[in-house]
Symmetry: C2
Subunit: 184 residues, 2 copies
Amino acid sequence: MPEIEALRYDPDPCSIARTLDLVGEKWSLLVLREVFSGVRRFDDIRRRTGAPRQVLSARLGTLVSAGLLRRDPYREPGQRTRYEYRLTGAGMDLYPVLVSLLRWGDRYLVPPTGGPSLELTHRDCGEPVDLVLRCRAGHELTSAREVLPRPGPGARLLDPDDPRAVPAARLTATPAGSAASAGR
Amino acid sequence: MPEIEALRYDPDPCSIARTLDLVGEKWSLLVLREVFSGVRRFDDIRRRTGAPRQVLSARLGTLVSAGLLRRDPYREPGQRTRYEYRLTGAGMDLYPVLVSLLRWGDRYLVPPTGGPSLELTHRDCGEPVDLVLRCRAGHELTSAREVLPRPGPGARLLDPDDPRAVPAARLTATPAGSAASAGR
């Protein structure tokens, strides 16, 4: 998917990097996995994910500060007030990230003998749920190769001398005479 | 999305965790972002991502070993052989992970004045590309709440005494009398 045009633009600010700064750490996404499954309490999340207590505490704090989870107080008889963690709307909208990770792992990392340990079904009809790339004209895309990335309204054109501006020549075919072009 | 049934099952092996073990580190996904954009050479990837040289070298090694990238040799006149990094089919299939991260960041982390810096369009027709959750009966899902996770063929039932088996009572409503149930 070589896209020369996009590479004349500043790679920052990048929404992928911004999102990863928030949730791009294994425990954060595993915590969200549990909350999506209905697990809400610190100790339950800790046992289900295996996250160390202090790490979990820090990650939950970040997710709450960022507005992905909210803390609701509860109290068991005779105990002090504790908190349950619930998804906000913004947290709920991260679901496609988890589904895409799950689906890739199911396909490439699960031994075919065992099969996936989790299936996602449509609550209303029971059919399996897929993640689909589709354009607004209604065409379904079967591969990333069908996507053309283009600069958006927030894109910043790089100075041609900026080292982050990759010359078009380096994005195209492997130079003639190399082992790659001879052998493939 | 409380799903009691799934929580009687072992959270491991989880395809989300397996995938994150491979690519769940910020630099890995930023490297893939660049390769998806057609950037193939070590120094270009380094400049575009800002990854430290040694980290980048390690991440590229992992991605090649895992079969997400392949190394193709090339040689500029008068220089030693170097390598370009290209996506394999398995690497290409990670695209939905990047798209879902991008879309979430565009929605929640980009100042509305600037707008997204990158737009994904359908190569054939030019229309914007979306990621859609859809069931095999053709229903489109608008929220994670419409998904019902179920144990798959590889699921392992937990012993009820296993601390990772969360009692159903903890997944449902906040206990009466707490501030949460009183105030919301």
